[in-house]
Symmetry: C2
Subunit: 355 residues, 2 copies
């Protein structure tokens, strides 16, 4: 690391994702020049290509902060995770994870294959002691402040204990990325009447009440409250979270395309659309996924962040920014301590209620 080195190095899998290394370097430029992101970067990918792209963006002046690690392989979006990880040891993803494992980096980001990243991360780094299954957390905009939704797909078959862990993981992520001192944590469920929820949420709710001293549990919420912004962390299992996240993104796109159709139906509407064009752009910036790209795989002994396969440079820059924040916050140490405390409380509560 060079003279201007700060205490944070982010490894970047530049070859994953739909848009390739060009967009990554553009994102890196934006992160350094616009977001003034103050850390070191280790780019993993085709060395000659990366050198050329850095030169084009005049990023070669930052050679003291930007290293390149050459890799020859790429894990494709449709490969089988375990098989790909085994057969492509010289892939950008595998090598970037190795940097994290070998403590050559404090965080890594990838826009590549989610399944491979989760499998590789879990196999190489292992979970924080006490955490059974990692969870993907993502930041979602709301009517008030953004909130963390977790798990959005790492663990589709959750137990109540997993959800309690998700609550702690999400709470720590909210502290790190959203800078909220005491995040309000809610459990996503259905119905407000008799027999509401399902067995999983009905079992989880009392456990979350048990660990209320460790996190700030405010109770269950329903789908219609999701975007109200009255809570900072929404906990659910990975099956529900993934469907909610992806269907919400799909709905956002669907509303946008319907709007565009309606706005070109006649001349008056077209003129109106031209005049208010900046409003649509600002709305897209506020609600679109680019501001809060970079979903960490929470619960691992290392900071792995996944960004959308189709991430543009702004999304990539923001993912780099979030990576820096989770490193600065010492999120992993904090999670380890809280998980230990919670597991004691949960185990005690199980003993108490045993027949």
């Amino acid at each position: 690391m060079g003279a201007s080195a700060v205490n944070c190095t982010i490894a970047v899998d530049t070859m994953g994702g739909d848009k390739g290394p060009t967009e990554f370097i553009r994102g890196l430029f934006y992160a350094i020049e616009e977001l003034k992101l103050d850390c070191n970067f280790t780019l993993v990918g085709n060395q000659r290509l990366l050198e050329r792209l850095l030169k084009v963006r005049k990023l070669d002046v930052y050679s003291d902060r930007i290293n390149i690690i050459h890799s020859t392989q790429v894990i494709g979006m449709n490969e089988k995770p375990i098989q790909a990880l085994k057969s492509k040891k010289d892939s950008s993803m595998v090598k970037a994870i190795a940097l994290l494992k070998d403590q050559q980096a404090n965080a890594m980001i990838s826009c590549g294959h989610t399944g491979a990243l989760m499998a590789g991360g879990t196999l190489r780094l292992r979970q924080i002691p006490g955490v059974d299954r990692p969870a993907l957390g993502i930041i979602v905009p709301s009517k008030k402040n953004p909130f963390v939704l977790t798990d959005v797909g790492a663990n589709p078959e959750s137990t109540a204990e997993n959800l309690v862990h998700n609550a702690i993981l999400g709470s720590n992520y909210a502290k790190a990325a959203l800078k909220i001192a005491n995040p309000r944590v809610a459990l996503l469920t259905i119905g407000t009447e008799e027999g509401k929820g399902n067995t999983l949420t009905n079992t989880t709710h009392p456990l979350l009440q048990k660990v209320d001293g460790i996190i700030n549990y405010v109770g269950p919420i329903e789908g219609f409250q999701l975007f109200d912004g009255d809570v900072d962390v929404v906990v659910c299992d990975g099956f529900v979270g993934n469907i909610v996240l992806k269907s919400s993104e799909a709905l956002f796109g669907f509303i946008g395309s319907t709007m565009r159709e309606e706005l070109v139906r006649n001349v008056k509407r077209k003129i109106g659309a031209v005049l208010s064009k900046s409003a649509f752009k600002d709305m897209k910036t506020r609600l679109g996924p680019d501001q809060h790209a970079g979903a960490p795989l929470l619960g691992l002994r290392g900071n792995i962040l996944k960004s959308h396969g189709s991430s543009n440079y702004i999304a990539i820059a923001n993912a780099l920014r979030i990576a820096k924040e989770v490193v600065t916050h010492d999120m992993i140490d904090s999670i380890g301590s809280e998980i230990n405390q919670a597991n004691v409380l949960i185990t005690n509560s199980e003993t108490e209620t045993a027949p």
Copy 2:
């Protein structure tokens, strides 16, 4: 029934819902005068009030088609379902369900308490033989044609067999309400890679393949495909479906409120918004819930339709229209026959794979 009677009578719980009987009578007016809905209506509620409201709307000329059944009680939105049903035997909801049970009506609609309606419907009418649990189906707009999403909350703890039944229920509802001859049925799940889905969807998928001759099963879809319109029925458990439905409605509202905020930020945008105002209105009509209000409680021996508590007159009129369609289609007979065939295939398949 009067001289102009057709072979369909719809019982209406006019006292349930947030807006009360005034909106119901407005909806009835719209259904008769605008949608030209050709059936009889039995309104259950405060007789004197209903008579006055009918007179105001000049609907008293249809006295041969509109009957009133007096009721003195209303089930509130926060009451406990079973308790409310027992203690309020003279409520508009209980009396409207009784009309269905006693074959005085072919369908009933309510904007009241969902839990009470489901419990009352199930207890009084019972399931169609072979159906274990009823499912709420709802029509959702998409980029192409609208589709049926089921279950959206009746059964939050589904088995694979329940989901197969949901597929048949949803397919029949799509035939009746969307007039699709051979609806394409999909299973909502997550991931496209190794170990995708959860145990429930992974168990359900092969069972749906088994009953592919009864329904037109086209395979699993993910959240991001939900609004593409490439399928006509999307099957999921009531927990997932309720959260997807309610969070989608919440997101629709959230995008709308953000849009309004952005459109008044400066004069240029405000002028643009005025010029394209009709585009926003048309979009709301296309995507809002009013066009497709009236979710049937599928799988019961009677057509019970639930409309949103906050339904306006257009939503109510459309719910009445859909009620007529499910009656005309003989949906219940058709479901009964398909469920029987499916249960044979599922049972055989279980026997085959037994150790």
